[in-house]
Amino acid sequence: MVSLNIDGVECRYGSIKILENVSLSVKAGDFVGILGPNGSGKTTLLRSISRSLKPYKGTILLNDKDLYSLKNIEVAKQMAVVPQDNTISFSFTALEVVLMGRNPHLERFQMETENDMTVARRVMNLTNTWHLASRPVNELSGGERQRVIIARALAQEPKILLLDEPLTYLDIINQLEIMDLIKSLCVADGIIAMAVVHDLNLAARYCNTALLLNKGCVFAAGSLDEVMTSENIKTVFKVDAMVKRNPVTNSLYIIPLSPPKSSPPRNCAIHIVSGAGTGTVLMKVLQEEGYSLTAGVLNVLDTDFETAEFLNIPVISEAPFSPITEKTRSANFDLMAKSSMIVITSVPFGYGNLSNLESAFEAVKLGVQTYIIDEEPIDVRDFTGGKATALMQELKKHGAVFIKHASELPALVNAKHDLMELQKNAETEVPGHTKKATKEIMQPTHHKEQN
């Protein structure tokens, strides 16, 4: 059984410290994803494990022996490396390149034997490159060449496989196949694989352990559940991301959200009526615009509920799959009445959530500006035998604004907000000049609303 122990490793390029105090113990069968933003030291760590960069401090033990005291040929029998750069200047054929992987197992003057040929053929079949065997590698596509180089590494029959961004040149099917292959080698043959992977989702799907580096230090290490949390991703990658479990593959998956824009907060509350994921994007966008949001009523476990939780938006919630009770309805109405605006997404309406529409109607009658996103006609998503449709008509009559597409909403909401700000100022300040400005602003806004 192979083992790899990294203890207190510090790496430098010249006097610049790249890695500091990295410790990690890897056991047979582990598939370790080395994660981290650009410049966090992933490749450097891999280089120090592959003996290309001797650590300034610390030790790396391969099967309890100091890695750097071993001969290249001894290490090559145990460890294979798939480098980041896969250019090859000379026109060796793919098979010749793969056979080079047999070098550690050959004597100095020995020609490759039949056994070496069998190994080469096997690994080339595994990486789907046998049909390229007699093609010169420098004429292959990047992805083909990458698979040939992975085959060369496998031809070494290594116990440890190090891969530096192995998926860079590969299309999606080849990415999955290569990761599948590596995973199966770990599980079936008990080899150790360590890969620098930029795609967090691929790492989450195939690795069983992860090492998250940040600024040359280990930020988190261990099982995927421990390492791949939205807090860790937020801190290290500076990106908001939702971490969920994929119902099909049962692996974690990560939905990165675009980096937050820093709009100044607006003193304006918007209540969102949504469900089934129809409000997710809107919540993110409006929050970035600086509005303070509320949402409801949403069932717990609803996608929009999870989004709201993630974005720290206050939600009036109901138990999973339950109709809205009177208590939550009135709490929700209170929020609506206090809001400056209400947005209703094109969520389907049934008897369970019909009261959201009724509350909105009440709020509109109180004068709360309401926007209704009408991407799908209401009769298609009305499961109340026409009650929701009728309520929509009423809402329209009382001044709710219908919008054909959600992407138009932010501009409209911003214009309305600016108008309300001006009106507020006009009430407190000297009339005249300001009022005129108000009128000018009003014109285009009206125009838009009529659209």
Partner: protein, 359 residues
Amino acid sequence: MSDGKIEGIYANRSSRWKIILVALVLALFLTLIVSLNIGYASISFSQILAILGKQIPFLSGSINSASISPSSQAIIILIRLPRVLAAALVGAGLAAAGVIYQGIFRNPMADSYLLGASAGASVGYSIAVLYVSSALTIVGLGIAQTFAFIFALLTVFLVLFISRVGHRIPITTLLLSGVVVNIFLLAMETLMELHSGQALTGIIAWLAGGFSDIVWLQVWAVMPFVIIGIAITFFFTRDLNMLSMGDETAQHLGVNTEKVRQLLLVIASLMTAAAVAISGVIGFVGLIIPHMTRLAIGPDHRILLPASAVVGAMFLVICDAVARVATGASELPVGVITALVGTPFFIYLLRRRKTTYSL
């Protein structure tokens, strides 16, 4: 192509390589014989063979000496044979060195000429001619050629040292420092020529490169460098395959990169320096021959190295023969011929590299 066929081709590589090598060596032998026939005095092939046969201990008894005129024998043994052998050794040495440089630097543009070997040798030669007593000899060799050898070696090491970045030698810095050192040495050379004010016909003739004044001693001097150099390199041809994939890759595949690289660079530089010292400035052999051989038989150094050496030997023997007969009275320097062939080829490589090779 069926699967069995692919495996068959690779299984038979070893015997195919042997056939290629035997054929090439035979061709070289023929070239040598034909080349011995070329010259001012006409000596028939049968005479040449008889003269050569007489030199071989076992055969000498069975050869009829009567048909051999003493003057013909003198011409063949003392003038043409050393000259032809020197051309062959220099060609083999330069080509083998080219194979090594190109493999180690992962680039088919690397060549001893670009590394400054010839320019270094010229400066060494000129210093010796102009400032050192020509009566001095070192192990029987002229002081000028000894200086040429030492300066060629020093220049190559200097260029390698300048272009070294950390543990690696990027091909771009290598070519650039080669160019810079070449220019510097050329300036030195010009300075010396101006300063001396003498008629420098000897130096100029030597600079142009050629084998017109070769004596046996020089053949014996260059032979061990080339033969032993190629023999040792042959031990490391599989390593050279992997080094041509890049240092780190070679290391990951089990090659003792530092040691092999240093050893092979020293061997290549010694071969180059020895060759340049007796032949003068003969450019592009180390560039063209390995490249053409690679195009013909593939990049595997296990066959590329010996094949390039033999082809290089043949090439220079032919160039030398052409030099002898091309212009009636005075000889054409061999360096001129190789440069005339080499420059267009180098330009072709540069153009082609844009699509095929990466630095």
